[in-house]
């Protein structure tokens, strides 16, 4: 293989897997804590740095779900370690790979320095918390039916009918409850959001929650928020949520601190 060919080969196989952006000027190794035990290190420009590992210029892909999960946990672990050490970080989505070497990373940091610096400053001392509010399904249905005269009458009618004959009415009833439930949910979500708002820097309503833990399966998720919270205000937010949690029929799931995944601007970097 000629030298030119070798150079080209190296060029295409080079990539840098990006974990997060931190505040810090030093270039150092964080040890073999990365995906597949890769050595994770920092590449800096002025007072900010990217946390990366050297990899091939191709995305991590696998049909093996467990393997992918392991990679993702490793990625998150690096973010946690970096956050402990350097304060709030700008986390990358899984599988963000820079095409090129350390110099490419540096070039990019210098080009986007202002934006990245601004984001880091904005997020300093803050972390993301996830709030999910659940409500007992029967209790909610009772509340919905109780507040709606039409549904109340329909329910009474169904109860008086023989089971087989009531079937179609029952379906109709269920559909109407479902529609009313959606209206109610939006209303409740707004109420809770306004309660939470004064204790957080920023709040985002999560419209889609992919997984609900087993222990909440018997309840309905009525609102989910990602909150950007200042360290000093976490306790107060906890108290407010505790208040909701102690209401009959409600349960609140409060997790964190997370790196500010929901609050880094996706479009501009």
């Amino acid at each position: 293989m000629s030298e030119a060919e070798l150079a080209r080969e190296t060029e295409v196989t080079q990539g840098r897997y990006a974990y997060c952006i931190i505040s810090g000027a030093d270039e150092m190794s964080l040890g073999n804590i990365g995906i597949e035990h890769a050595e994770v290190y920092t590449v800096s420009h002025k007072d900010i740095a990217a946390v990366v590992h050297a990899c091939q210029s191709q995305p991590y892909e696998s049909r093996d779900e467990n393997k992918v999960k392991e990679w993702i946990l490793s990625h998150n672990n690096v973010i946690d370690k970096a956050s402990e050490r350097f304060g709030t970080v700008l986390p990358f989505s899984f599988d963000a790979i820079v095409k090129g070497d350390d110099d490419t990373v540096k070039d990019w940091l210098s080009k986007d320095y202002e934006k990245l610096k601004q984001e880091l400053d904005k997020l300093r001392g803050k972390a993301e918390y996830t709030v999910q509010i659940f409500c007992d399904q029967n209790r909610l249905t009772d509340k919905i039916v109780g507040e709606n005269q039409g549904l109340r009458e329909l329910k009474e009618k169904i109860e008086k009918m023989p089971k087989r004959a009531a079937y179609l009415l029952q379906r109709k009833f269920e559909l109407q409850v479902k529609d009313a439930y959606n209206v109610m949910r939006v209303k409740l979500a707004e109420e809770f959001a306004s309660k939470i708002k004064e204790h957080v820097e920023e709040v985002k309503v999560e419209e889609k929650v992919s997984h609900v833990p087993e222990s909440y399966k018997d309840k309905k998720l009525i609102a989910a928020f990602s909150c950007l919270v200042h360290k000093e205000k976490v306790k107060r937010l906890g108290e407010v949520l505790g208040g909701i949690n102690s209401q009959e029929g409600y349960a609140v799931r409060f997790t964190g601190p997370w790196a500010p995944f929901s609050f880094v601007n996706l479009e501009e970097i």
Partner: protein, 318 residues
Amino acid sequence: MEPRRLECDINDVLDKLLNKGLVLNADLIISVAGIPLLGVNLRAAIAGMETMLEYGMMEAWDKSIREWYNKEFAGRVEAPLANGEEVIIRTFGSIWSSEGVINAWKPGFLYLTNNRLFLWRKEPPEMLFEVSLDKIEGLMIKKENHFKKERDELYLQFDCGEVARIHVSNVTELKQTIKMIVGKELENRIVIPSERTPLPKGEEIIKEEKLWYLFPAQGILGETWRPGRLCLTNKRLFWVYRVDNQKMFEVPLDKVTGVNVKARVSVPGIKAEDKVLNVTYDGGRALFYGKAEKLCEMESAIQEIFPKPLVPSIVRKT
């Protein structure tokens, strides 16, 4: 209350790392066929191919694409309902569509109302499939392979003889509810069209009609009318029983001695004035019943094959 970070709950981590966080600018990243950052395979491994296809790729897509999707589809058109029509089931669903070389599942919202079953696509608005419930004659749940996994699919048979294939997440519920609304006995064995045996080379179907056949007495069973298809080819005339797709009557054309359509007395199970198609051949006669015009069309199709009109001879009962 105190916030918690339970290491064992990986789903929160997955949600954040796959759907959120920084994404690199396009000229720095490695992309696969225009899809930023992660290949389709990767997301498929996490979401499960099944789910991805069922609910459209959009659900598991990048936030930016989801936003675009929501904006783009803000003006979705709701399914048209007739006055007084009530929705009983509304769910994601898809129908198998095969037109010529195109074979695909078409996804949409499946509506079961008190008198219709239809699949509605919101954007662009289109009725993908629609049938009045009284046209349904048979329902059958069958296990089919779908991307290497088995799942239940619902086959529907209509009175025109056509068969539709539908998938929803709860097939059993859909079937039970249709049965409940229709309120009549429905066939639960359906012949899937692709399972029909192809004709031998050189043989072509000239005419095919859905007709009843007076099945000869068997054991303690007397003569019975059974539903099926009468097929006229350039070589023979045969009838296939709808329930098991078996040929139960067959005669080569050169053995046919007569054909006519008229009302006959002493045929069990039909009114005296009802017309039947009477086919005589060497060794016997066969009777078919259906709409009068269908019978006449079949009669003239058979007659056309022969140079001079065939008149049925009287067959003596042996």
